[in-house]
Symmetry: C2
Subunit: 360 residues, 2 copies
């Protein structure tokens, strides 16, 4: 079974490239390690990615078939689009088979697992290619033990007012900003898009509930030996009742030293039924800090505000208001504000401890 | 596949009957519906259960083999002992096979599933007996949607300062006390012992984390049409970092109208590493109420204090102290205090709404 050491992606986004369902594909294009060899989308074939989605900041040819994409030398086919029915259209199967027969790894961010398809498993084995079901958790996750409290690293967790406010992007942008400031940072992935970007991680919402904190603990304990500051991707929200358990398990298991509260400007209730009213920012800060303190005192260092849809002027006014309300730095990483947020995070971290070297 | 409508248990507790590992067996003997036909424990064979474990309040013969136990007419063999290695000793296998060949259902509360043993599955099929892996969650649990907020029933959840403080027993004792007071109560099981006692339920800690709240919601939505007050078995604690996510998912998913805080007298930290210091009772009450309010305002109605190890005098003094500290009724269901606690619960519930009748 061959796993590429450095991936070059053929991104399968046929019919979905510009929509919300392509969140995972967009994340990998924007933040992923490795190249984007080509994007498969028959609707936009012939155009360039930069023309169609300039905000992703990368270019690649858009092609109309796997065969055409192969010319650009990909190592891996990415299934990074949430399809309408939840599982893949039938013609994808043909493309996947073609990719496997051409020696491409298949990286699957969908809920269903490729490993549950015996025909595909057989074909992959015959062609010695890796089927990577990104959401499949490892089988040997231990219960939480408290060892995350003993690692000689500083841990920063993004927490949210709700789902889909930008926690993953904030963690990634902070990791980049910290790195630009001379820190040895590492992004720690806890969801499928993050895992595809980082090349490793555990989808904590897919873990048996007893083991969520244990999974988070394992993730922070198994980072690169030379990493100093860990930026852990948060999940859900304490105010989103569908996912609050995952949020709390991650908060306790990762044992952060500092938190970054992520919020979308103007959101006053959760996005999904039963549309829970969101508390004031100062109250959310107090609750996250109180709940974190079970394992370690951690302060909310700053507010990462997602200002999508606002004009520059509205954004500046809103950020000022939030800073006044909370007494904390507030900025928008989607509008270039990661650097100010990083400074606030760095100031909130404890002194660096001696890094113990050793294997992961 | 035959599932008995009324179970009569042959309880397999060989070598463990009087120890802590027999918690599930003890729970079923104490609270379970159906008869206890016999108990299999070679160490105490020939004695009566009432002599060996008078505190369980039931009698049954203790036998030294499945063959001997069959004489007492059991319908089901209970695997309700957490064995030292986590999985069953080899000679159990012989007993299980004998039980299957004699037409007994096998009810398994262990972590490993009988259904993963192909030989046993084959034997069970040939003998038309049911293999009941109690911890195996249903495959079709939905995400939380908020429908638990619309049921015309009153829901009471036990919450804890820690694991193993008596939440299940308190829920069961309150269900019995409410019933004795003329209320139509139903115990809602969320863990393996509770499920064996009630004959139904979902082990919420075995559910994929994304679906914990959905599982809790489904449980309260699928209770008996004639039930009025639901006593939901709590799990874990917001202060036990290994399980806090399960606790919060259950709190939000079941959407209780009232809470009962369960605590063990004298416990000042969680029982397991990292031995989290427990806040004062008044602080725990405030946090549980604050976290519950995301879905519904619910007050802690009373304190269920587990006073094991205390003398009568110490117990009374401790209960008085707790009542003074919290301003709430405090009592110990293990010392006959369920009735006072029930009165406090009933007073904390909203008015009964019209019960909509319908199938589960």
């Amino acid at each position: 079974m061959t796993t590429p050491t450095e991936r070059s992606w053929l991104v399968l986004a046929d019919g979905y490239l510009t929509g919300r369902n392509a969140k995972t594909a967009h994340g990998v294009i924007r933040y992923g390690h490795g190249d984007i060899a080509a994007v498969l989308d028959r609707d936009n074939a012939g155009a360039s990615l930069r023309t169609v989605l300039p905000e992703l900041g990368r270019d690649a040819p858009i092609v109309s078939s796997v065969q055409e994409g192969l010319a650009y030398g990909p190592t891996s086919l990415l299934l990074g689009v949430a399809t309408a029915g939840g599982w893949m259209p039938e013609h994808w199967r043909t493309w996947i088979n073609e990719a496997v027969e051409s020696g491409l790894e298949i990286a699957n961010g969908l809920h269903g697992f490729l490993k549950e398809d015996p025909d595909l498993v057989k074909l992959a084995r015959a062609n010695k290619v890796n089927l990577w079901d990104v959401r499949e958790p490892p089988a040997d996750i231990p219960l939480f033990s408290g060892r995350s409290l003993d690692i000689p690293k500083r841990t920063v967790l993004t927490v949210g007012s709700d789902c889909a406010v930008g926690k993953m992007s904030v963690s990634l942008e902070l990791a980049a900003a910290g790195s630009a400031n001379g820190f040895s940072t590492e992004f720690v992935a806890t969801g499928q898009t993050g895992i595809l970007i980082a090349g490793r991680g555990i989808a904590v919402d897919r873990v048996i509930s007893d083991f969520v904190a244990g999974a988070a603990e394992r993730l922070v304990c198994e980072t690169h030996p030379s990493s100093d500051v860990l930026l852990v991707e948060g999940q859900g929200s304490l105010w989103n009742p569908a996912f609050s358990g995952v949020t709390l398990g991650l908060l306790h298991g990762s044992a952060p030293h500092a938190l970054v509260l992520c919020h979308e400007a103007g959101r006053t209730t959760t996005d999904e039924p039963p549309f829970v009213p969101l508390p004031r920012l100062t109250d959310m800060i107090a609750v996250y800090e109180a709940m974190a303190s079970t394992v370690r005192d951690a302060r909310v260092a700053c507010i990462a505000l997602n200002c999508r849809g606002l004009s520059d002027r509205e954004r500046k006014r809103t950020l000022n208001e939030v800073e006044e309300q909370t007494g904390l730095i507030a900025d928008d990483v989607f509008a270039g504000g990661a650097s100010r947020l990083w400074d606030a995070v760095a100031a909130a971290l404890p002194e660096r401890r001696a890094i113990r070297h050793g294997s992961r």
